[in-house]
Symmetry: C2
Subunit: 137 residues, 2 copies
DNA sequence: CAGGATCCGCTAAGATACTG
DNA sequence: CAGTATCTTAGCGGATCCTG
């Protein structure tokens, strides 16, 4: 076995050898990679929430987007939607068991983010300084 | 303290109490939540790759999208771009240390995905059956 | 309160052609 | 090979109005 060749390749953590090409990563990202899903999930991690409560908890989200977001999360079995036939109507959203398990993943994301936020920010500034008008942003 | 009130609230895994509102989750998702970044990172987790190698390894990506993707990853300090002034030109992309750490996160995503893929798929079929023409997909 | 229905602008992303 | 430049399109997401 030849030495001298300094190729590190730090052990393939993701070999992606299971599926035809992309693991199932894209499947997850297609669900939580959008603008709002994670924020809704994070809020629901605190407990049961009603529609308006969610909208207030996630500033900037429109009714339309909130509706679409909770519908998709419900469709995937990540949250439940309970309608109480009162007047005025009352609808409660709650994480399912799977939804809660997703919460752990979100925490991993948050942890990684807070750990590297500074480094990324500095790398970005440096890159922007070296590439003044690159169009990238 | 009253009992009787069955509110579970299964321990807030993500309390999100650090930042003003959304933790740093969106920051990560804005980087890897797009259509291609993760796939490129996964491929680079195998080792150093050249431009065309990456494009072949990620079927369906266009030159333009690959360029944009690697530029952004480079800007964020997740990969390095090394140009060898040969002819024809040769450019090598490689994960940085931070890029490799991101790899662990991606593995967590892949694991969660493969664990729940079945459940999600079934939940989705059931939902679609109950809501024939809802517009959601 | 909890949404459904519309209209509409913006940008991400694909296709194509060209360059050092 | 490794890109850049340009054009075009799809659809995400915002705003607004309306209903049970």
């Amino acid at each position: 076995m030849s030495v001298g060749h300094t190729e590190v390749t730090t052990e393939p953590v993701v070999s992606c050898g299971d599926e035809h090409e992309d693991c199932g990563i894209r499947e997850v990202l297609d669900r939580i990679g959008d603008k709002w899903s994670v924020l809704v999930v994070v809020e629901l991690a605190q407990g049961v929430r009603r529609f308006r409560q969610l909208q207030r908890a996630v500033p900037g989200i429109s009714q339309r987007m909130l509706t679409l977001t909770v519908r998709r999360l419900e469709r995937d079995g990540l949250i439940t939607r309970t309608v109480y036939p009162t007047v005025p109507p009352q609808v409660e959203y709650e994480l399912t068991a799977m939804g809660h398990s997703l919460t752990h993943l979100v925490k991993a994301l948050a942890d990684w983010s807070s750990e590297h936020r500074g480094v990324i920010s500095r790398a970005r500034q440096e890159w922007d300084a070296e590439h003044p008008d690159s169009g990238i942003r």
